[in-house]
Subunit: 529 residues, 2 copies
Amino acid sequence: MSGTTRALPPGIDDARFERALEAFEAIVGAPNVCRGGASLDPYLDPFVPLADAHAFAPSAAILPASVEEIRAILRVANETRMPLWTVSTGRNFAYGGAAPRLPGSVVLDLQRMNRILEVDERLAWARVEPGVSYFDLHAHLREQHVRLWVDPPAAGWGSVIGNTLERGFGTTAYGDHAAAQCGMEVVLANGDVVRTGMGAIETGTAWHLYKSGYGPSFDALFTQSNYGVVTKMGLWLMPAPPAFVIGEIQVEREDDLGVLVDTLRVLQLDGTIAQHAVIEGVIRRAASLAPRSRWYEGDGPMPEAAVAAMQRELGVGRWNLHYALYGAPEVIDAQRRIVERAFAAVPGARFTAQRYEEGDEPKGGGDRNLAGIPTMSAFRMLDWRGGEGAHVDFSPLCPADGRDALRQYALVKARAAEYGFDYYGGFTAAGRCLHHVFAAIFARERRADAARAGDLLRALMSDAGAAGYGVYRSHLLYMDYAAVQYGFNDGALLRLAQTVKDALDAQGVLSPGKQGIWPAAWRAQRGYT
Amino acid sequence: MSGTTRALPPGIDDARFERALEAFEAIVGAPNVCRGGASLDPYLDPFVPLADAHAFAPSAAILPASVEEIRAILRVANETRMPLWTVSTGRNFAYGGAAPRLPGSVVLDLQRMNRILEVDERLAWARVEPGVSYFDLHAHLREQHVRLWVDPPAAGWGSVIGNTLERGFGTTAYGDHAAAQCGMEVVLANGDVVRTGMGAIETGTAWHLYKSGYGPSFDALFTQSNYGVVTKMGLWLMPAPPAFVIGEIQVEREDDLGVLVDTLRVLQLDGTIAQHAVIEGVIRRAASLAPRSRWYEGDGPMPEAAVAAMQRELGVGRWNLHYALYGAPEVIDAQRRIVERAFAAVPGARFTAQRYEEGDEPKGGGDRNLAGIPTMSAFRMLDWRGGEGAHVDFSPLCPADGRDALRQYALVKARAAEYGFDYYGGFTAAGRCLHHVFAAIFARERRADAARAGDLLRALMSDAGAAGYGVYRSHLLYMDYAAVQYGFNDGALLRLAQTVKDALDAQGVLSPGKQGIWPAAWRAQRGYT
């Protein structure tokens, strides 16, 4: 996918565009500006769920190396009203990759800013730049013999800052990345450099120790938003535990999801299970062991008989709960007994668990994530249906209540089947809520399938909205549609978001349209009030 | 304290004021408008650290009963440019009570909005209005036999919303009130009613289950701020544990604070101690047992010999660590052994601990708080020095590092002694940081002592700022001064706060000056740029 005609941003002619690009080159150097052609391929959405594989194409990309360069770029963008689309490294696969919401935007790619600025082993935090991936940070901690863990998201190549800002999550005790974030440096659209929380104390040492600071707290305002460019971030790291248990609990029947969720909720809320446990559906569990074609070669969703055969032959559950316990051996042994006692109430439940000591490395991808080791295990899904695999995700927030989980599962499974997709999904449990993630998997060379995946996403969001559920994140294609679902009082939340946007970015140059937030200039053009 | 001349807001004459008050009376009814005299006494700062006990006096107070009344009040305030000062119930003692930062403001007192709107025992949350106190919520849970705990702050009469918005804290596993907050309803200055996070899904049930929602997160923006009037809030409640241990560890020497902090940090970060443990200095610990006059009657700080005698005779430690463990008996017994083993490294450490079952009620005030039972135990400090006791607090954030704790302690103790005050203080430990709280205690009828306490506060803030420490909260008197300490990049954080303020409250009617944030109109009057 390359060589398309360059799409300029709406309302910007060639002359203005050229002027801006020359100014950008003067700031970052010509090799750090991608002007089109193959150099822009990494900024196309690799999994775009539309027939047109070049939808959401940017016009160019710039790769600054410093805060000062970002400030200079913002001056040019404001002068020329050039829309920028900020990415940390652009690994946001399944939600749009590095591609911009507004076609023709210039991607502001921060991957060259990739320093691990500080790690404090005693107080267990790190300060990183946007280009630092989970792999990078993990490797650094290993090399320096620092006894701290990262909390890996599904794909370890992602940026720590990027994932956190998009509110990604992992599966250790630090699985809630937004909760483990503490302190930021942000460049505002006007070039002002703000340090949040305790970071505003000039000679202070508590930037990454206390989140709130004094006065209003701003960090969360810069997540899933287009209010600023985050250039540094603090995150809390988990002290390597002396021992840990990784366990799996398999249940037989589809309906067992309900009791699984209800039992897990009690154990999470009482503190026995302190991490983000994962409940994998049978197909997602099976995909780590064998390809779909072993049981079914057809185009539509796998028939129930094939699923049942697969479940039986692979010896997996219809639902498979993965959990971990971290701590002193005597404590986690006691906790393991409590966990197994609780789930023994599910008829036919099967238990496996293994205890590790600090430094041990589990074998399987998911288990490695539970042990703080980043992997690319999430990508195994791409082999499930063959071809050059791609997927887009539907991720509604689900109350941690068995009835809601069953309802969402039934809804998604039925609608997915209607569009010809397997239910490839699961739930990551975060106490009072579950992150339900369903992946529509397709072969990317089959553009009709891609478009059908996009249609399915919209149908699912509509279904979910009607049932009172909202997504926590969205692909570019449905960012506006998702925002509209959050419609209380005629869209008061989006009005507030727009008011803040206009105050902080008068020219509307930062990531127009992100999460449905359009700056005033673009709202007018798009016929919004 | 009553009968003072009514202070009007700057720039507002009698006629405009009278017009506004008549409009307010038409909205809430005359009995719900306090027009001066004794009816305004509850809105004076009871502990004002100035010679003038009537500093920060409001001109009037209004008590609305509903969101609609608040919206109508805001219309009048915008028309007349009348500054309002919002309080939930106004129990913010030691930081200004219900009194406004800008003298002459009209207090918007929400105490009549005191419904507990919903409690969900399964998913462990409550939705409350601003007038609901910790006592109210606790009593409601008891009456309804709901097996959930509140996390009491030092004084149980405080508003749940008020305390959370000011970032108060408690001592159970839910001690970080900001972290346990989830979802708000906010009335903006323009009357728009916003529900944050998942609350914007009209028929949804996840408002109080997932904090972030979709797009930028706004909740934290409304804490310690003047950006809106919070009318409903969700908070997470702790499931009543089957058993709990409450323990105390006493150490002998002043310098033992360092090792106490370092040992505690490790145990909190590895999850063994999951609550906000408290380290009380000898004087604060002693104040629960006997009055100061038993050892010393003098005016200045207690001499070291008197402190040592008191410590010996009462059998308390120089520092006294209070901790709790919650969970299954076999787990907390193992954790207790780990805790005592860790602190046994401190020479002379003394241990006591008691295990309780669900439903048991410890006797002492602090222990009751650790068991989720609100008390007024914090007020015992008012008897320490005799007279009609009052105090103002200095509360710098401290890294959870023994060296920092010792440094802050030495700094505060020396400066307090210079101004004639005992070191009455302690640290509440929250993992990577400590809330250091020092109370300057005085008899409120001695106005010179009050003024000296105010002077001491300023000196301490200056000392702390020079050492790289910042306060997490401030009395009205030093809100501006505290904000200036957060001065990185020539005050970029405050500039951001002001930009948002002006966008959300163009007339500047909501709590001008709160946490140092003055709206544009008042910045000009005060000679700010």
